[in-house]
């Protein structure tokens, strides 16, 4: 450790934001302290993740551009990095059109509910050591409860627009989100089972140790790896991202449930969607990738929040890569995939996680759990693929 600054400097760098907040809070009268502390944390979360959203929009467009052999935005500012600013000004100054037939109040509140719900999810995410807004006893449950409110806002948007594309998009989105929520929660339950807690802070603490140089992350166990993959697939579907972007498939139903939104409300939907995606990735990091802990034991001197955001950016890059690579699924494929493939795998993964806990020998449990996870994947995949007839599809409604 002589190579780096002394231990206390590392500690200060790690806890910098926590100490700064404490310093500010110490200057307010005693009764308002708790409130001020919460407000500061909430504002910080809002600012950081909203700017991450701005950054991601330009990263995504540039990344997709590279994948599709073009440049992407490169006009506003150096290398086009000021593009989000231009987009923001454009959406703010656009006319806010509400359809005449629309249900005004519901139409107005839908994007607000979406954004509020999406931001509330960050309350339980530990983005660094001692950096969590609310360390709730049932934090994971809170996260899923709030994320289910997003479905309501999508329905409100789709129904209140009184547009057939909006309604179709909303029903597709809700059906998809309900189907994939089952897998999402079951994959999270494996970790809850292993950590013995619903509190996100405790779950991260359980993964904080190291064996040699490797961390005790849950993703580095057979059941944890399977759980992580299942979780991220389900999270992609929850966020309506490609290849599960049927609810807003531009070529079929325009923009889905937010077809009839314009100007700033349209931007709010975009914001809510990306914020929801970051939150889901954040929960994936918390549950499987050790939250803010360092990936190798000799890297613990890097401040914890940097690790969280490094992992988050890595997952965002994966999302962009997947979006640029995979084609959109069909509705029946989407549902079959969720109910016939992901759900059984998640249940088997739950059994594997239970076995992992109770098998005594390290080698035995590695072999048993790996065989269970890989075997079920192979057998289920083969079994489902057996019935496939790769031929020209006949459409019943167009006979």
């Amino acid at each position: 450790m002589t190579l780096f600054a002394s231990n206390s400097a590392v500690e200060t760098a790690d806890q910098f934001f926590v100490l700064a907040e404490r310093w500010i809070v110490a200057h307010v009268p005693g009764t308002a302290r708790a409130l001020v502390a919460d407000v500061i944390s909430a504002v910080a979360l809002l600012a950081v993740f909203a700017s991450l959203f701005a950054m991601t929009t330009v990263l995504e467009r540039k990344g997709l551009g590279r994948i599709q052999n073009r440049y992407g935005p490169n006009r506003v500012g150096p290398f086009g990095i000021l593009q989000p600013l231009a987009d923001g000004i454009k959406s703010l100054t656009k006319e806010d059109i509400v359809p005449l037939a629309a249900d005004r109040w519901v139409h107005y509140f839908a994007p607000l509910v979406l954004v509020v719900a999406a931001f509330s999810m960050y309350a339980v995410l530990p983005i660094g050591r001692n950096m969590v807004l609310a360390n709730m006893d049932a934090g994971v449950l809170f996260f899923f409860a709030v994320s289910s409110v997003m479905e309501v806002s999508i329905f409100m948007a789709g129904w209140s627009s009184k547009n057939k594309y909006s309604l179709l998009g909303a029903m597709r989105a809700i059906a998809q989100m309900i189907s994939y929520e089952v897998t999402l929660i079951l994959a999270a339950v494996t970790v809850v089972m292993a950590a013995g807690s619903l509190s996100t802070v405790t779950i991260v603490e359980k993964q904080a140790g190291y064996t040699g140089i490797l961390p005790h992350w849950f993703v580095l166990t057979p059941w944890g790896f399977a759980g992580f993959v299942l979780f991220m697939i389900a999270a992609t579907a929850e966020a309506n991202r490609s290849p599960f972007d049927l609810p807003e498939g531009e070529s079929e139903i325009i923009a889905g449930y937010f077809t009839e939104y314009s100007g700033f409300k349209f931007a709010l939907f975009f914001l809510g969607e990306y914020i929801g995606m970051f939150a889901m990735s954040g929960l994936g990091i918390t549950l499987f990738l050790g939250g803010w802990t360092a990936p190798l034991s000799f890297l613990t001197w890097v401040p914890s929040y940097l690790w969280f955001f490094a992992k988050l950016l890595f997952l965002i890059a994966m999302f962009i890569w997947i979006r640029g690579t995979l084609p959109r699924l069909r509705m029946d494929q989407l549902m079959n995939f969720a109910w016939k493939f992901l759900l059984p795998l998640a249940l088997i993964d739950l059994v594997a996680a239970g076995l992992w806990r109770f098998l005594p020998n390290e080698a035995v449990r590695w072999i048993v759990c790996s065989v269970l996870v890989v075997g079920s994947y192979v057998l289920l995949g083969r079994g489902l693929a057996r019935g496939w007839k790769l031929e020209k599809r006949v459409y019943r409604f167009a006979e």
Binding site: D103, V106, M136, D137, A138, L141, F142, F144, A145, V146, S148, V149, E151, V152, F155, M156, W159, K162, L167, M171, I174, I178, E181, G196, S197, L198, S199
Partner: protein, 164 residues
């Protein structure tokens, strides 16, 4: 103080549910009611039940009702609420039920007992209770949910096959 506010929200939501003429508006008011109740649970110190309330009632039951509304072609058209004889009888029944409940609440000895400090219940205790003391009810609930799932699917699916 907080309790009063959210109690008012809950009651207002519930009143809106049965008074609004548009079915979808009713469901949105129902969601407000469920959310208000969840906050009341949180204020009473039942964190786990409060979040479960949001997850199950708003995330599942309300969404199911929305699907049912759209599948029965009630897409937004206002339902006519006609006042007839049944309103009088219903009013009498409801007033009677409420009078009995209120009388019982005011005259029972429990409502005048001293208020205890908030019990410190952790989610871990709930989990332990579910796995030990309440293991059998939990299994039965699992069985019930499976039966309900299969039942709901068969009830809703049968007609479709005949129609094809």
């Amino acid at each position: 103080m907080l309790f009063t506010i959210f109690a008012i929200v809950t009651v207002a939501g519930a009143t809106a549910v049965i008074c609004l003429r548009n079915l979808v508006h009713s469901v949105l008011a129902l969601i407000v009611t469920f959310a208000g109740l969840a906050v009341v649970y949180l204020l009473l110190g039942a964190q786990f039940v409060g979040f479960a309330q949001v997850l199950v009632y708003i995330g599942a039951v309300a969404i199911l009702i929305v699907f049912a509304i759209l599948l029965t072609r009630n897409t937004g058209a206002d339902v006519r609420v006609s006042i007839d004889d049944s309103w009088v009888w219903s009013g009498v029944v409801v007033a009677g039920v409420f009078a009995v409940l209120a009388w019982a609440i005011y005259h029972s000895s429990v409502s005048h007992s001293a208020t205890l400090a908030q019990p410190a219940t952790t989610t871990q205790q709930i989990g332990n209770a579910l796995m030990q003391q309440y293991a059998l009810p939990l299994e039965v609930i699992g069985l019930l949910l499976t039966a309900a799932l299969i039942g709901a699917v068969t009830i809703a699916l049968r007609e479709q096959k005949e129609a094809r």
